[in-house]
Amino acid sequence: MSVADLNNQSAPTKAPTVDAEEARRARRRRIEKTARWLLPLLVMALMIWVWDRIVVWNEIPHFILPSPGRVWGSLTGDWAILWDSALLTGRITLMALAIAVIGGAGLAILFNQNKMVELSLYPYAVILQVTPVVAIAPLIFIYVESKTVGMLLCAWLVAFFPVLSSTTLGLNSVDHNLRDLFRIYGATRWQRLWMLQLPSALPYFLGGLKIAGGLSLIGAVVAELVAGTGGVGTGLAFRIQEAGYRLNIARMFAALAIVAAMGVFIFAALSLLSHMLLRKWHESAIKREH
């Protein structure tokens, strides 16, 4: 609703009742609001029940498919070990995301400010992106002494590109009339970057950030699997691999559940950040009345 609409609302025309269509619409909105969280929970409960029945009715041994109860037992029983591993994987993920943001956005700004640098380096950014990280990782661990640095490098390789490409797109998507206006008022290159291009690029950057969040977790997990047992590597991916060797399938499921939960948490946190930054002005954050 615009301010103009607000002004036009005069007091006496206030409708005493809502008509039938509006009432139906309101009811549908209420039902949808509940269904949004209730239905996924019901689906999960159903799946777990079916899983449990399959295991029990077919008498499947737990080293092939553990029952949900056994997985829950592993999750609570091994919590101390799993939590430590989750902290390690989480730390690598967040650090990789941080340098992906700095590197990706930094490169985007550099490319935007200097066309020659962009022409020279952009093809290599693409090559780094399209080469599967699993294929590069073994080489990285040959040349990089520290496991932590190696894992960070792997995760960064996967995560920086979405930030780079979406921020580049954003920096180039400035309204051309606003660009002309800045020229007429004699804006310097820094004023244009700071007051015009960066705010214009913000929604694009945040879109890339959401993708990069998920990718940096994938990068961290892949890096752990490749890095193997030596050194600091006792993250969640390592736990999954280790439990697999010992046929402790329940712990594999438990560790997998934690990895998935971390991914969801990162996505939710970044979505919230994006909403907070854009809610005042950007179209994506505006709730429509109809």
């Binding site: 615009s2 009339n177 606003l178 004699g186 804006a187 950007h282």
Partner: protein, 260 residues
């Protein structure tokens, strides 16, 4: 604040001197355009699309350079001496109304508190001082255009260039903004070059109408609308207005024939 001098006593502000503009592919956007702009003039560039009226505006704004010919200013200009209003409101969506109007000063390096009064005064001039903290998306199309005009006027420039600013608005809003624009111009005492394809709008607003033809873009005729200011709804319904509209329509007809 500068008062607008009588028509015959105005000082020269700038001269467009035999300007050609050719775009790549041999597209002649402007041929031999000459125009003398004097302080206080309200000039409309009237013509069909493709007649180079927006190109002329961009040349005067210094956003592009003529292929040949010159644009000569009577005196050297500072940053805030030129205001521009585009066809779209062209506001920064992430900034409030007041921050948008503050932009020309901000780019000059002025702190907000030093020019706050100017910003609020410009907003009062367009009738939006109550909306200084609103974001552009909360405003209607007409209100956004008013913010854009306030931004162009906030530095009290000598010259304001307007490129079909009201073309996307409804008739009622446009009439209101036409009236208000004349009032604001009189208050600030600035010169206006106004691009339009509406005969009625050009007659109502301007004291000089430059009629242009397309392919190649060129000046066909210059009309003088000698009705006195302030003009209001009475002028819009007068026989004098109708006569001027007829003359402008005929000139435009001529321009269309010349192009075909």
């Amino acid at each position: 604040m500068a008062k607008i001098a009588p028509f015959s006593e105005r000082q020269e502000l700038l001269r467009v001197n035999a300007v050609d503009k050719v775009f790549p592919g041999d597209v002649q956007a402007l041929r031999a355009m000459s125009l003398t702009v004097r302080e206080g003039d309200f000039i409309s560039l009237l013509g069909p699309s493709g007649c180079g009226k927006s190109t002329a505006l961009r040349l005067i704004a210094g956003l592009s350079a003529p292929t040949s010919g010159r644009i000569e200013w009577a005196k050297t200009r500072a940053q805030g001496d030129l205001g521009v209003v585009f066809q779209e409101p062209t506001l920064m969506p992430w900034a409030t109304v007041a921050q948008n109007v503050y932009l020309p000063f901000r780019l000059e390096g002025q702190p907000y508190n030093a020019v706050k009064d100017n910003v609020l005064e410009a907003l009062k001039l367009v009738g939006l001082d109550k909306f200084q903290n609103a974001y552009p998306r909360e405003l209607s199309g007409g209100m956004k255009m008013r913010v854009s005009i306030a931004r162009a006027m906030v530095t009290q420039p000598e010259l304001i260039l307007m490129d079909e600013p009201f073309a996307a608005l409804d008739e009622i809003t446009r009439f209101k903004l036409n009236n208000d624009l004349l009032e604001m111009q009189a208050r600030i005492g600035c010169t206006v070059i106004f691009v339009t394809h509406s005969v009625f709008e050009s007659v109502f607003l301007s004291d000089r109408i430059v009629v242009m033809a397309a392919r190649p873009g060129r000046v066909i005729e210059e009309l003088h609308v000698d009705a006195p200011y302030p003009r209001n709804e009475n002028f819009r319904t007068s026989a004098e207005y109708a006569a001027h509209c007829r003359a402008a329509s005929q000139a435009l007809e001529l321009a269309m024939e010349a192009a075909a």
